[in-house]
Amino acid sequence: MKPVSTITSPGVPLLIDNIDTDTIIPSREMRSTGRTGLADGLFAPWRYTDADKRINDPSFVLNQRDAIGTRLLLGGANFGCGSSREHAVWALAEFGIEAIIAPSFAPIFKSNCLRNGLLPVELPEEVVRELQWAMVTIDLPTQTVSASGKTWHFALDAEAKAMLLEGLDAIDLTLKHREAIAAWTEADRAARPWVYLEKRA
């Protein structure tokens, strides 16, 4: 995972509450079992007047001139709700989005962001509104967002921050606890034998 530190970009607003992952990447745009080839399908229902022919809808914010090349999306409350599909995050990242600022995120989506180096920043709705089209700088080490001479602090748990900053792989980190996991399993097997299944033929 690529380390994340500072992101500067115009804040492109998509200030709609409850944007779901079916809208971010519809099922029919997930055409292979891989994690790539998704950017074209990002927001397909809103981005195109004809998704099959890929005819842009000029009224959709990501098609506007000032949004081209943006790294930052501003969203509404409960951003990324619905299906757990990690493809939503893969599509956003492939499109070039590196951070999303929203009043709140749906939990699975937020965790998917953190596992893929996409920074989810939670700030109150009135702040998000203030950031529309401003040149915004997100500084992860200090956990601050600044724009138009103002600065706001955002919360992020320490582990998520460290993993983003250092681009660490969660599985590698966890495997350092291999012995603790083995010891726990042995004790648990004695305490809850009914949990443990044998592989059937």
């Binding site: 809208t23 079992t33 891989g34 409960n78 619905g82 939990p107 969660a170 726990w184 059937r200």
Partner: protein, 455 residues
């Protein structure tokens, strides 16, 4: 101080503290399905990481597989076959258990896991599927994760978790006739918002919850993700044990002291409490494009965001009942079990759906549900009423690019998501109980099942 059901499962599964505030939580059961399963398994294989304990990992073909009778690996969804064959190959290579396309126990992941006795009280269970919360009905901590987290769980046997908050939603009193678990879920979400449960594990409690059978409890927990909760959970009781007894993967003898000790202690404190008076509930239906935009079926549509009214094509102030519909769907991990089909069939028996309905489907949640329904003749009732009768799978709960409803259709659906485009581009979805779907299909317009006299 007393502990909640969640606290007990968390404490039992806490392996170590990874870093400050992050615990390693052991994962007892992992499910995959063909839409995301091959991706996760292939990515692990590419990284040279084996599955830590294949006996606790299961894969299911449900999302992309066709539901037409006589189906095989071919799908109406363009390119769908690759999801099936690649998942099969990856599952075989990883040594995990697969419920394949033609398996007699095939079905929707959250329907077959309980049917097989794979979910059990007190276990942790995850799947890269948001409706994994369904299985919390058994007193398990079961929740949806992303693909990377699924790889993590398979590779290590644990997940790294920040402890969530706890919430108790108590449905007091008994509900009225015709009010189901689906209506309880929609009432909760409409009153407290689609983000209302964020950051919390929601324990459902109270007389109206205790009164639900296991299938109703699954329906209620199924919608916890629509409330943005990490998951829903219900304390196991005699109904839970009776359901699980004799299931293929359930233990031969029940560890009753362990299981009966799981319920929240009387003095347990929850971070948040919500109470809903069960007797005030009515059959619900969604009017908009979020599950929070739901109202009693006899109510008027409220004012919502203009874009929602525009998409759904309904004005504020009008009654939702009487809105003409084009299609009806009974299925999904929310409402496709035997009791759901029985209740819908009871309303349809001896009747025909309105001629204006262009597509009507019943898709049983599993092949076992299908066989049981056929043994009771429910299939004949549905077919005589004008419904198609299918093999099991997710089907038109979501649109994968193959089979769909006619463009612009207004559908009434026993599913869980009424998002824009969820059932196809431009499709206007109304979610409701199987009773409301059946009554509306008969009327050709959204209808209150309490006004249909069962034959």
């Amino acid at each position: 101080m007393g502990r909640t059901l969640f606290d007990k499962i968390w404490d039992t599964h806490r392996v170590a503290e990874a870093t400050a505030g992050v615990a390693l939580i052991a994962i007892d059961r992992i499910f995959l399905h063909e839409r995301t399963g091959a991706a996760a398994l292939k990515s692990m294989a590419a990284a040279g990481r084996p599955v830590h304990d294949p006996a606790r990992v299961f894969a299911v073909m449900d999302h992309i597989v066709d539901t037409r009778i006589g189906r095989d690996d071919q799908t109406l969804m363009p390119g769908g076959q690759a999801f099936i064959t690649e998942t099969r190959e990856a599952a075989l290579a990883a040594g995990i258990t697969l419920f394949d396309v033609t398996d007699r126990d095939q079905g929707i992941v959250h329907v077959i896991s309980p049917e097989q006795g794979i979910v059990l009280p007190g276990v942790t269970l995850v799947a890269p599927d948001s409706h994994t919360c369904t299985q919390g009905a058994f007193g398990a901590l079961a929740w949806g994760i992303g693909s990377s987290e699924a790889e993590h769980a398979m590779a290590t046997g644990v997940l790294r978790l920040v402890r969530p908050g706890t919430m108790r939603v108590t449905f007091t009193g008994a509900t009225q006739q015709g009010v189901t678990a689906k209506d309880m879920a929609l009432a909760l979400i409409s009153r407290h918002g689609a983000g209302g449960g964020a950051g919390h594990v929601v324990e459902f409690a109270g007389e109206a919850v205790r009164g639900l059978d296991m299938e109703g409890r699954m329906t209620l927990c199924n919608m916890a993700t629509e409330f943005s909760a990490m998951t829903g959970i219900i304390a196991p009781d005699a109904a839970t044990y009776a359901y699980l007894a004799g299931r293929p993967y359930a233990p031969a003898s029940f560890d009753a002291p362990h299981w009966s000790g799981l319920a929240s202690d009387p003095g347990a404190r929850f971070d948040r409490e919500i109470e809903i008076e069960g007797s005030t509930l009515a059959p619900m239906i969604s009017w908009g494009t979020s599950p929070e935009q739901a109202i009693p079926v006899d109510a008027r549509i409220p004012q919502g965001p203009p874009r929602v009214h525009e998409y759904i094509g309904l004005e504020a102030g009008q009654f939702i009942a009487g809105t003409p519909i084009d299609a009806a769907f009974i299925g999904s991990c929310t409402n496709s079990r035997l009791s759901d089909l029985r209740r819908a069939a009871a309303l349809l028996k001896g009747k025909r759906i309105a001629p204006s309905i262009r597509k009507a489907l019943v898709v049983p949640g599993s092949m076992a549900v299908k066989r049981a329904a056929e043994a009771e003749g429910l299939d004949q009732t549905f077919i005589a009423a004008g419904f198609e009768w299918r093999n099991s799978g997710c089907s038109l709960c979501f649109y994968a690019g193959g089979e769909g409803f006619e463009p612009g259709s207004r559908t009434i659906s026993s599913t869980n998501r009424n998002f824009e485009g969820r059932q196809g581009p431009g499709i206007r979805t109304h979610i409701a109980s199987p009773e409301v779907v059946a009554a509306s299909a008969l009327a050709g317009a959204i209808a209150d099942p309490r006004k249909v006299i069962a034959a």
